[in-house]
Symmetry: C2
Subunit: 280 residues, 2 copies
């Protein structure tokens, strides 16, 4: 059987794999000042958002990514009141962050307003917290936003970006991490999606080195399944301003006041253990 026009394929040539989803059709194609956004209707994964040819989010599997980009860092921070999400225009990470009653302010800063407008249209279930009084949606350059932030303003910065090519490239280097460090409070934590533990081992090592060079005291990489992304096995990396990342708010995580489909207290203990071969 061959993959014809009834399939969308993302070829990750540099890591020798490709992933395809069967589609009923294309629902939208928009060229914004920043990127090309496409929306497909798939046969088994619900709606699918593509940016510049890369899979971003699907209805069926985004819960894995959004839960694991939010709850581990929020329950690891001792007092998570002010949270900045850079990228994340689909609003799924913002939504999870706002499930935490401790959070008093959650800002989402995506460079491209069209990502959010299309998410509101095709992924409304991810946008249910957009009108939360604690939520702020800004459409601006995340790099500049962090540079302009007041010293120590944020407790948590979550970098929910596309891959480290194109518009997001600047979100993976030492200068950006230095700005994040300054904008974080004393117990501040950075959480960034960090590609595949199977296929991007070198990239992850370089990213962590850049975080430490920028002055972060410790970095810690953990993993989760993510069907839509190359290899289906994904990671995020935490960076701490003030010390090793060895504990989390266990009682709060055990008794979280909201339901999750993947994240749990037990999975958080695995987050704290991390991926040994990426945390040497």
């Amino acid at each position: 059987m061959t993959l014809d026009n009834n399939w969308f394929t993302e070829v990750a040539d540099s890591i020798g794999s490709a992933f395809s989803l069967k589609i009923n059709g294309k629902l939208e194609e928009v060229q914004t000042p920043f990127q090309k956004i496409e929306i497909y209707d798939t046969t088994h994964y619900g709606k699918l958002m593509i940016i510049d040819g890369y899979t971003m989010v699907s209805t069926a599997d985004n819960f894995l990514y959004h839960e694991m980009m939010s709850h581990p860092v929020v329950y690891t921070h001792p007092k998570p009141e002010k949270v900045l999400v850079i990228g994340g225009g689909d609003c799924g990470t913002l939504q999870q962050v706002l499930k935490h009653p401790e959070v008093k302010l959650a800002q989402q800063v995506d460079i491209d307003e069209q990502v959010t407008r299309l998410s509101e249209k095709y992924f409304p279930e991810l946008c249910t917290a957009n009108n939360d009084p604690r939520a702020e949606l800004h459409f601006a350059d995340g790099l500049k936003w962090v540079k302009d932030a007041a010293d120590g303003y944020y407790d948590i910065i979550i970098v929910d970006s596309t891959d480290p090519v194109g518009p997001a490239e600047g979100l993976f280097n030492e200068a950006f991490y230095r700005d994040c460090l300054r904008a974080l409070g004393e117990q501040g934590l950075l959480c960034q999606q960090s590609e595949s533990p199977l296929s991007h081992v070198t990239l992850i090592a370089e990213m962590k080195q850049a975080m430490r060079s920028a002055g972060f005291a410790a970095t810690h990489t953990y993993d989760f399944p993510q069907p839509l992304y190359p290899s289906g096995w994904w990671s995020a990396t935490l960076a701490s301003k003030s010390g090793e990342i060895t504990s989390f708010r266990e009682d709060a995580a055990r008794h979280k006041p909201f339901a999750t489909k993947y994240y749990s207290y037990a999975r958080h203990t695995v987050v704290m253990e991390g991926v040994p071969f990426l945390n040497k």
Copy 2:
């Protein structure tokens, strides 16, 4: 970019996804009395074994599957002395089982000797325990093997089979599970690969229903990443002869006398928690 002859693709049409690996070339193609086996040299996943068009094992990612098909069940059983692996002809599960000093006998029963011969040639690192005095490699029909087994002979039966179509179909039904139940001791555990938690929810439910109809007291499904298999997110299901599956040998798992790349004590606590939406 299109996928040309430099790629191997497995299309999982019934679940609307496909996974491709870039290849340097085909190293072997053998039609056995049971199936067609192909070996490819990939650009980034090492060697790749294909059976009847389905991905079976790659050098790069098999550790996930083999560790998670063996250590969870072995550390969950209170006294795992006699272990039967049905299928598993690549010898990777057998190898992991034999890392446990408590195991006194580990039999691998695969219907097709060629799977093992090709694994010895292309995946020698999986076959290092084949000459362990506790190992027995049999090439026979697993269904008949279990039917002929003495009552209560095994502590653990691991079903490391291909998908529930073709030669492996009979390994997913009530009659087979009834034979397994009889062949297991009082505290016996069955562990079977059970496809994708994202894409095979109905199949998993039917499989668990068949296990319970056969007389198993409890079933429990857990998950792990597996890049090579459809969706990249995979599961295994435990079935217990004598009661709920709620505890494991925690001290032994904490102090396991061998290294693993993925399995750990913390991950075992997640195994015990299982996948909530598959264990209702």
